[in-house]
């Protein structure tokens, strides 16, 4: 330490207290740096791309006029990017940061929970969208298909990433370290992915099961992505699906968007109740 200037006595900067939004943006900037420097994050981000390559291998048959089963599965994978990035990254880093007291350090410094969760959610949404852009380019390169409604595709990726970040956060109270978080998160990751109707069209499920799956937080975003890609109203299944206008497609998408918003709200409230900031267990 400096022998001549070991003092804390200069006046602090006086400025308006930064808003939660500004703090969230600032922490998001650091989250970006951390994500870029964290090799495991890149591995997690590559998982949906891996699933995309596997999807090219499934049997192709025509589902709708000019739209194949592979086209819809590829679109469905894009609507489930968050299952990998959200569940995998959030559960991993928040468990590690809790155990290393980083979260506690942020809280005692006066950073509100909403800012901490918001920054992580923002960065997971950002990298999910980045992965989606890469996947759109890849699909265009290999099949010539591009999304009819890119905005709807972006909404699907965003909603899925936000919900899955909450799922990842909900894993953390039940695991002791980041290694166990990685192992435990594989179960909901795979379960949610295969319940999304990506590889097994929901039409093949019994009516009751289909209704339940449609209310889970994956199928709605997979359907949004499939509708965004095909331009067909696929929200009641592929059988009998018809091409829809831009506004007509958005009107048909509203229930799916609503389901996801309900999930985000419910899971965020649950995170607020059960999340543990401190590694010390009473």
């Amino acid at each position: 330490m400096s022998p001549t200037t070991a003092t804390t006595t200069s006046a602090p900067t006086t400025r308006p207290s930064p808003s939660r939004f500004r703090r969230t943006l600032r922490l998001t900037r650091t989250e970006f740096t951390l994500f870029v420097r964290y090799k495991t994050a890149w591995w997690i981000l590559s998982m949906p791309l891996l699933m995309l390559f596997l999807t090219f291998q499934i049997p192709s048959y025509e589902l709708m006029d000019g739209v194949s089963s592979v086209d819809m599965a590829l679109a469905g994978v894009m609507g489930t990017i968050g299952v990998f990035v959200g569940v995998g990254h959030a559960s991993n880093v928040f468990t590690a940061r809790r155990e290393s007291l980083v979260l506690k350090r942020l809280r005692v410094s006066g950073v509100p929970p909403l800012v901490i969760f918001g920054a992580t959610t923002a960065i997971i949404v950002f990298f999910s969208l980045l992965a989606a852009v890469a996947m759109v380019a890849l699909i265009a390169l290999m099949t010539g298909q591009t999304p009819r409604d890119p905005l709807m595709l972006a909404v699907a990726v965003t909603l899925n990433a936000a919900v899955m970040t909450m799922v990842g956060l909900l894993i953390t109270p039940y695991v002791r370290n980041s290694e166990s978080a990685q192992m435990v998160s594989v179960l909901p990751m795979m379960g949610l992915f295969f319940l999304g109707g990506v590889y097994v069209p929901l039409d093949f499920l019994p009516d009751g099961a289909q209704r339940v799956v449609e209310l889970l937080p994956v199928a709605p975003t997979a359907q949004l992505a499939q509708a965004a890609y095909s331009g067909y109203d696929v929200f009641d299944g592929f059988a009998g699906a018809e091409s829809a206008s831009y506004l007509g497609l958005w009107a048909a998408a509203l229930p799916s968007v609503a389901v996801m918003l309900v999930w985000i709200t419910a899971l965020a409230l649950l995170v607020g109740r059960v999340f543990r900031w401190d590694p010390r267990q009473p």
């Binding site: 330490m1 400096s2 022998p3 200037t5 070991a6 003092t7 804390t8 006595t9 200069s10 006046a11 602090p12 900067t13 006086t14 400025r15 207290s17 930064p18 703090r23 600032r26 922490l27 650091t30 740096t33 951390l34 420097r37 964290y38 940061r97 290393s100 007291l101 980083v102 979260l103 506690k104 350090r105 809280r107 005692v108 410094s109 006066g110 950073v111 509100p112 800012v115 900031w277 401190d278 010390r280 009473p282």
Partner: protein
């Protein structure tokens, strides 16, 4: 650097006054199931005052701090920081408090400078990054990754993160653990500066010398209760002065004189019999003198010599060890 007093006392609504305590803990109890970690702890800390909370491992110090930090709701009793319940870290107090945790809590992939910049940008009343790094002696380390710092350097960075937000209440949970002696002394100087600036500080430490140097008042906890509390002087006064000497070979233990207001104990050290008088009664400023005078008089009458004669006041370690029942669990 210039000295600019930053006092917790302001006229803003809800803020403490210069005379009022910044932290009040009243009959705090914390249960975890059947286990009672904290059993009726009370204390206050005023702006510019350092209160040291000492104790054995598991005494309840960290639970008490975590309750003040807002992580636990008291099972019973009350805690107040600037008159507010800190549970959940309400906006009214979270920007006015900070802590150095028992563990570091640093993002290891960031550089030192990035770490302080982040804390600075998130703070409501930040100090400059360079100033804070200079204060803790990490200026030459600012470009390197946190993971490359030594344990002591990480503790300095922890302190920097607390300083950069200009807290009015600061919780220091074993802040110098892992530091080399030079860094520890520098940290003491920084903490003294903070006190002068009006910061109310709660310190826990296993270094009793640290508490002796810094604390205005202190408490020693054991098994969830405060066993001893007061200023350092008042605590030590209550534990008496020690007068010790090697018992002459021609004196039997039974022949050692009794002194008024003093307890005698005899023990063998290095194959030598030692007598120790603990003098508790009488004028604090004169009681050791009176005891020594009486013993020298007795020795003169017997024509013997008090070899290795030692006189010392009680140390905080004496008090601590007595409280801790022999301190088998002392670190």
């Amino acid at each position: 650097m210039t000295t600019t007093a930053h006092s917790a006392a302001t006229d803003a609504p809800g803020r403490t006054t210069a005379d009022g305590p910044a932290v009040v803990v009243d009959d705090l109890r914390q249960h975890y199931g059947d286990f009672e970690a904290v059993r009726g702890v009370s204390f206050e800390i005023r702006p510019g005052e350092l209160f040291a909370l000492l104790g054995t491992n598991g005494a309840g110090k960290t639970t008490t701090i975590e309750t003040l930090e807002g992580f636990h709701r008291p099972t019973s009793g009350t805690v107040r920081v600037f008159g507010e319940d800190p549970y959940g870290q309400p906006a009214a107090i979270r920007e006015r408090t900070n802590a150095v945790l028992q563990g570091s809590g640093l993002l290891e992939d960031l550089t030192v400078r990035e770490t302080v910049d982040l804390a600075r940008d998130l703070a409501a009343r930040p100090r400059g990054t360079e100033e804070v790094l200079d204060t803790v002696g990490l200026t030459d380390k600012r470009g390197i990754a946190v993971r490359q710092l030594s344990g002591g350097q990480k503790r300095r960075l922890d302190l920097a993160l607390a300083l950069v937000t200009t807290p009015e209440v600061l919780y220091l949970d074993e802040p110098t653990t892992g530091m080399d002696p030079e860094a520890r002394i520098d940290t003491w100087r920084i903490v003294s500066e903070l006190k002068r600036d009006g910061v109310a500080i709660l310190l826990t430490t296993h270094y009793l010398e640290e508490a002796e140097r810094l604390a205005d008042r202190l408490a020693i906890m054991h098994r969830g209760r405060v066993r001893v509390e007061g200023t350092l002087t008042s605590v030590l006064e209550g534990w008496g002065d020690r007068v010790a000497f090697a018992v002459p070979e021609d004196v039997r233990t039974a022949d050692l004189p009794g002194l008024e207001g003093a307890d005698l104990s005899v023990e063998t050290r290095d194959q030598t019999l030692w007598a120790t008088y603990t003098v508790r009664d009488g004028d604090v400023a004169e009681r050791a003198h009176r005891a020594v005078a009486a013993l020298l008089s007795w020795a003169g009458e017997r024509g013997t010599t008090l070899r290795h004669l030692q006189v010392r006041g009680a140390s905080l370690e004496d008090v601590f060890l007595s409280v801790a029942d022999g301190a088998a669990d002392l670190v």
